[in-house]
Symmetry: C2
Subunit: 206 residues, 2 copies
């Protein structure tokens, strides 16, 4: 015997998450983002590591409501983002990692494909970067901002791992740009997608 | 300044993971699976929660080498699995969650789409189930095995969450079938994909 109604499952999940959290100072909107990261990882530690800088939720919701362009670093993050909500919001989303030109550029310049993908992405402008996997993508975005080549409204930067991930997030938090990031090694494409979905649901509903 | 060579990044990551782990009794092959789950989550806790039952790695590698059929519960897990290695192994992979018929069946039977997707999957036979998200999919697989409708070689069952996830994994571990699962709430599509990739790399390389 187990619950088979998707909305009951989700509601019950969020009740359990709510009950299990420590005392906190999150705003109601921040809480929705944090709880969705806990929901997607099963890991309450996210209440301690999700960081909001420069008013990212308000900016993100406004960008989504006005129909923005979102670029993800991985196909997994792309897959995890709710397409119904995205289309309701008139937002578009792209991912460049598997393109032939990106392979070529990465090889020629001796950079990662994730970095080359960012270089390609900015050609059409980017409102929201969603980086769940590659620290090098996040470092590259910082470089491109410094070079005046891109000016995103919001960066969701939650690369995971042990080589550069933590540092890439520290680096991007220093910019005077709205960011949602995590402290330390944890993160991932699923976490990145969960954060985007939390913003989408606040902006346009399910 | 940051490392831009993908293989250097990955090798350094696994060195750090190796150094950071507690003493353990994993076999060399189990260690590869566990370390890849840590790599994909940034979370050392996976060394405490990944469970192997009924010789799953040997069975999985053999299935992969003989060209098996893999079914995932989510598009995210599907996205995260290395397509190059998959095609080198002559394995095929399917995901049914977004199919029109699955929507319809779920609505008619008042079950989750994840459950309906499993019912559809077995029509073509399934060698390896890869469940990263939906406890209901894992419960359903157990029911279908009990009904004699499917006989998978291996189940990778790592649903995440607070409602039924832990229980679904306990349930599936009781079957006399090779399983790789996690204890407790943690898991996810990324973890599921990481486990499949670890098996693929052991079976056919990168």
């Amino acid at each position: 015997m187990y619950i088979k109604d998707p909305m009951s499952i989700e509601n019950k999940s969020f009740d359990i998450i709510n009950d299990g959290m420590n005392e906190h100072n999150f705003t109601e909107q921040e809480l929705k983002v944090v709880q969705r990261t806990i929901h997607t990882t099963g890991d309450f530690d996210y209440q301690n590591i999700v960081m909001f800088k420069n008013n990212p939720i308000e900016v993100g919701i406004e960008a989504i409501k006005s129909g923005c362009r979102i670029v993800t670093d991985t196909k997994m993050a792309f897959s995890g983002i709710n397409k119904g909500a995205l289309s309701k919001a008139n937002c578009t989303m792209d991912n460049y990692i598997a393109r032939e030109e990106v392979f070529k550029m990465a090889k020629e310049k001796e950079i990662t494909r994730s970095m080359a993908a960012m270089d390609f992405a900015l050609q059409e402008g980017v409102d929201i970067f969603v980086i769940g996997n590659a620290p090098t993508a996040l470092f590259r975005i910082g470089e491109l901002i410094n070079e005046g080549k891109v000016s995103p409204k919001l960066i969701i930067g939650v690369p995971v791992g042990f080589v550069g991930a933590s540092e890439s997030k520290e680096y991007i938090r220093e910019f005077n740009i709205p960011t949602i990031t995590t402290k330390g090694t944890k993160g991932g494409s699923n976490v990145a997608a969960a954060i985007v979905n939390a913003l989408l649901y606040m902006a346009v509903g399910r």
